[in-house]
């Protein structure tokens, strides 16, 4: 714990030398989320304390990935994917929590700079479609991610206790992508970020499932053969078992 405080103190020193007496301390209840065979989603608790006035904003970002969004259109009576857009990099997971509505905390420029809030995400979208523009694709991407539970529908509420301590639960659904996540905690005062802290959170597959996935990708031929043999053997077994 002492070392943590030291690290945080060093971080604070870098970020806001002028306001060294206003630290922000935060941590997660766990730094590793293991996707095991029984995984059905999990909650991670984020907690911390602030010294002095200010609002706290938490942003959770999953590893950035390229995406393709496709749009259907009616052609010859049936609905066919006609247009598409390449999204160069979008966070695979994105969730924001805050002690107050974002608009009341900071001006647009600040939210844009730190990419806080879905409206302020920087997604460069390359549209190849004459029927819909980038905005439509952007909205669609966010909507589809929200439907999968990967982007937050709303800015989650952070509760303050005695104006110093705060806590919030971050929910990760069962289909959460693996990788290194960044949990960013901002302390905002008078519309400016005066302190910030970033904590990594690793989400990774553990156990049999992880081994299977690695095996299927690295030794695809062996995996395929084993799958066939397994299937043939169980078919034969079934026939033998029920034969009279």
């Amino acid at each position: 714990m002492k070392r943590l405080i030291l690290i945080i103190a060093l971080l604070m020193g870098n970020l806001g030398a002028a306001r060294a007496n206003e630290p922000l301390v935060a941590d997660l209840s766990k730094h590793l989320v293991a996707i095991t065979t029984g995984f059905a989603g999990t909650d991670v608790l984020l907690f911390g304390a602030v010294d002095g006035e200010g609002e706290v904003v938490v942003v959770v970002r999953g590893p950035a990935k390229a995406e393709i969004v496709r749009r259907k259109d009616r052609q010859a009576g049936i609905w066919i994917n006609t247009g598409s857009a390449q999204v160069e990099s979008a966070p695979s997971f994105y969730r924001v929590a805050s002690t107050k509505p974002l608009a009341e905390i900071a001006p647009v420029a600040v939210l844009d700079r730190h990419q806080i809030g879905l409206d302020h995400l920087d997604l460069s979208i390359d549209t190849k479609d004459s029927g819909a523009d980038g905005t439509a694709y952007r909205d669609a991407l966010i909507r589809l991610k929200q439907k999968k539970g990967l982007y937050g529908d709303v800015v989650q509420q952070i509760g303050f206790m005695s104006h110093r301590l705060f806590r919030t639960e971050i929910h990760f659904p069962a289909n959460v992508p693996v990788g290194t996540y960044l949990v960013e905690v901002y302390l905002i005062q008078g519309g400016d970020v005066i302190s910030a802290q970033t904590t990594p959170l690793v989400i990774s597959k553990i156990g049999v499932g992880a081994d299977l996935f690695d095996f299927a990708h690295q030794q695809a031929a062996a995996y395929g053969l084993i799958a066939i043999m397994l299937a043939a053997a169980s078919g034969w077994l079934a026939a033998a078992a029920f034969k009279k």
Partner: protein, 309 residues
């Protein structure tokens, strides 16, 4: 109880998948069909990515055909020579099919092509089966009328003029090898794309196109399905990384039990009734998929992974 599927990368309810396997297994036991044409759309409907549904279903069909073919083999109802030629065609076909699948996936049109294939082939097969079985139901109702004029074994057409003729002793046929070879090829392509064994196309084609006697049709079809779906399983696993063994084993477990119950039930039902019922189910799946293609979707946009492997 939830279980995380390592390849599909999602968690599903174990009992739901076991039940699905059991239900489809029951149907396949009852009607003597593979059930892939029901299973793949149902898996997609459950939210399993279409590519994983197709790849995994191929593995499951290997199992159910192995289990099914053994009984036919014991009774000597497998035309080995015919089966091998169909398999050769099927191998080439499944190579082509998996490549086509990969290409369509990159283009973002794979869902559409799967759905179209289903609508067209289920429509044709279901429609034909329905008409034919209703006719025979009506005929059996008009009882008596013994001795319907004996038909010729098969009609002689241009098909019998093709070269490379081979004698198939078990099928009592002397036809060109080109015929079963190209039939195997076509069904191989469709099986790889649709995630089915292709029995529902193969069986009628063997009867009406090749003129094989019905007694050897099912056994021979199952025999070739084993090898063709084994090949597509391998190709889906190595080219698309879409075979989920955990999902396949769960489906198998339910399927085996369901198939046994179905097979016991089928003894108590009349052949024509069974075929009308099967035809109706096939048509139902066809109509459902057809409606989905035509009605305005609530969401115009879909998300596809951008990163290539």
């Amino acid at each position: 109880m939830q279980i995380y599927l390592p390849i599909a990368e999602m968690s599903v309810n174990v009992f739901l998948i076991l039940g699905l396997g059991g239900g489809v297994g029951f149907m396949s036991g009852l009607f003597g069909v593979g059930g892939g044409f029901l299973m793949t759309p149902l898996l997609i409907f459950l939210g399993i990515p279409p590519a994983v549904a197709v790849g995994t279903e191929a593995a499951q069909i290997v199992a159910s055909s192995v289990s099914g073919v053994l009984a036919h083999w014991r009774r000597g109802n497998v035309d080995l020579k015919m089966g091998l030629i169909l398999t050769m065609g099927g191998f080439v076909g499944s190579f082509g099919g998996v490549e086509l699948f990969k290409w369509l996936r990159g283009m973002g049109q794979v869902d559409l092509v799967i759905a179209l294939c289903y609508v067209v082939f289920l429509g044709i097969v279901g429609g034909m089966m329905f008409i034919e079985s209703i006719q025979s139901l009506v005929q059996s109702h008009r009882a008596g009328e013994a001795g319907v004029a004996r038909k010729k074994l098969h009609q002689h057409t241009w098909i019998h003029g093709l070269p490379f003729k081979i004698r198939f002793r078990r099928s009592k046929l002397y036809i060109s090898a080109v015929l079963p070879l190209s039939l195997g090829l076509l069904v191989g392509v469709l099986a790889a794309i649709m995630g089915v064994g292709g029995g529902f196309i193969m069986v009628p084609a063997m009867i009406y196109l090749l003129g094989m006697p019905t007694s050897v049709v099912v056994g021979t079809s199952l025999f070739q399905i084993i090898f063709v779906t084994a090949n597509s399983t391998f190709l889906h696993a190595t080219r698309n990384f879409t075979v989920d063994v955990v999902l396949a084993l769960l489906l198998l477990l339910g399927g085996v039990i369901g198939a046994q119950i179905g097979a016991k039930m089928s003894v108590r039902m009349k052949g024509e009734q069974l075929r009308v019922l099967l035809a109706l189910i096939v048509l139902l799946v066809c109509v459902k998929l057809g409606i989905d293609l035509i009605t305005t979707p609530t969401e115009m946009f879909t998300l596809g992974a951008g990163g290539k492997h």
